[in-house]
Amino acid sequence: MAISEHPQHEGGPRWFRLFHFASPYQFYPLAGKLAPWFASAAALLALTGLWMGFAVAPIDAQQGEGYRIIFLHVPTSWMAMFIYVVMAFWSIVHLVWRTRLSAMMAQSLAPTGALMAFLSLVTGSLWGKPMWGTWWVWDARLTSMLLLFFLYLGFISLTRSIDDPERADRAGSVLALVGVFNIPVIHFSVKWWNTLHQGASVSVSKGSSMATTMLIGMLLLALAAWMYSIAMTLVRVRVLILQREAHTRWVRELIAQEGD
């Protein structure tokens, strides 16, 4: 089933040009050029964000210095959720347009997303421990994040367990689609469950208003996490491209030249 990876759309509408980069051959060098920029942006934003959050921002009236964990917990949580949505987006693109690269993008996003979810769980747990005295708290957001983490693991396991790459791509895309539909349901039901059982809650207390420095620090670190995720995904998709297109002439020429 040969799919044309170099559509001849010379005279077509402008948006067809997007399909130019749908070819792994075109995207590989582009990703290679972009990745370092995103990585540097991530480093810069992280340093300034950490400076704002840890060195400059004042103490929280109710939670003491312990609240500073949110500067790590919130960005990782947001990224864990955002990455899954982006994964689902690429999965839908893959199911509709059958471009291999979109499936590769989805699969490259997953490990970073899983890591973010894991870090969100750990930082959330460390945040909750001084407040509740236990290492794990069945907070609504933490529990939702735990389920999201399992969704990531499921996606990664499924795409790695299927040997046929085309089947693995499509199966992963279907799974990501099912997952993204379920995430709002999961969030809602866990929230329901938590309020019903009057569970613990790990969050910045409603009473305290966020100082500007806190907000800036959090935004900077959230942006840093985003840039980092993009950089990681671009590097990972390059590895995946080389792996999958190893038999093509352009990859073999690339390898033969000893360059990359």
């Binding site: 999201l148 399992f150 499924l158 367990s161 099912v178 999961i186 866990v190 329901w192 019903l196």
Partner: protein
Amino acid sequence: MTLTSFYLTVVRRDLLLAWQQRGDLLVGLIFFVLVASLFPLAIGPEPQLLSRVGPGVLWVAAMLANLLALPRLFIADWQDGTLEQLMLAPAPPSIMVAGKLSAHWLTTGLPLALVAPVLGVQYGMDGDSILMLVASLLLGTPTLSALGSIGAALTLGVRQGELLLALLVLPLYAPILIFGSGAVAAVGAGLTGYAELYLLAAIMSASVFLAPWLAAMALKLAVE
């Protein structure tokens, strides 16, 4: 052949096959009862504790029993090539999946819901709670089968397929578990539990409607 008659043929066929291997169905039920019987051994026989955890434990046990029965949906037909034939039929594959789902629920979810009262009594639950348990299981198990069928189709023929299926499908089951056991717990606490039932019904309608189409998509991958 009209769509309805095709659907009914698939249902009838699967029911007949299940009846020929009714031992399998029985094993599923026994598993349900067994798991429910293990919990008191683990947490102690104190009646108040048991009636409090009853809804949750029974729901989890039903979920696991349902999970174990999922591979039965497609594996046998896939292995002997019948699945491929069915997909080549002039009707859309989603109808075939819908038929299989219906038969699967009739042979898995429905029996679980009907056996549940016996276990409810074992856990010292009162009549209203047991009634709600059956109702919630009747509304929840179709969703379990529906979501499970997507997972079963995705993992068909994959190595370690059954473990992978559990990993894929259990996080998706969480909302049904929450609302199902929540409905029963609500009744135990003196509330009506109708809100949870409505939510279960809503989730069921959505998943029963969408799952055959998604599962058929996944089946095409396994059969190609």
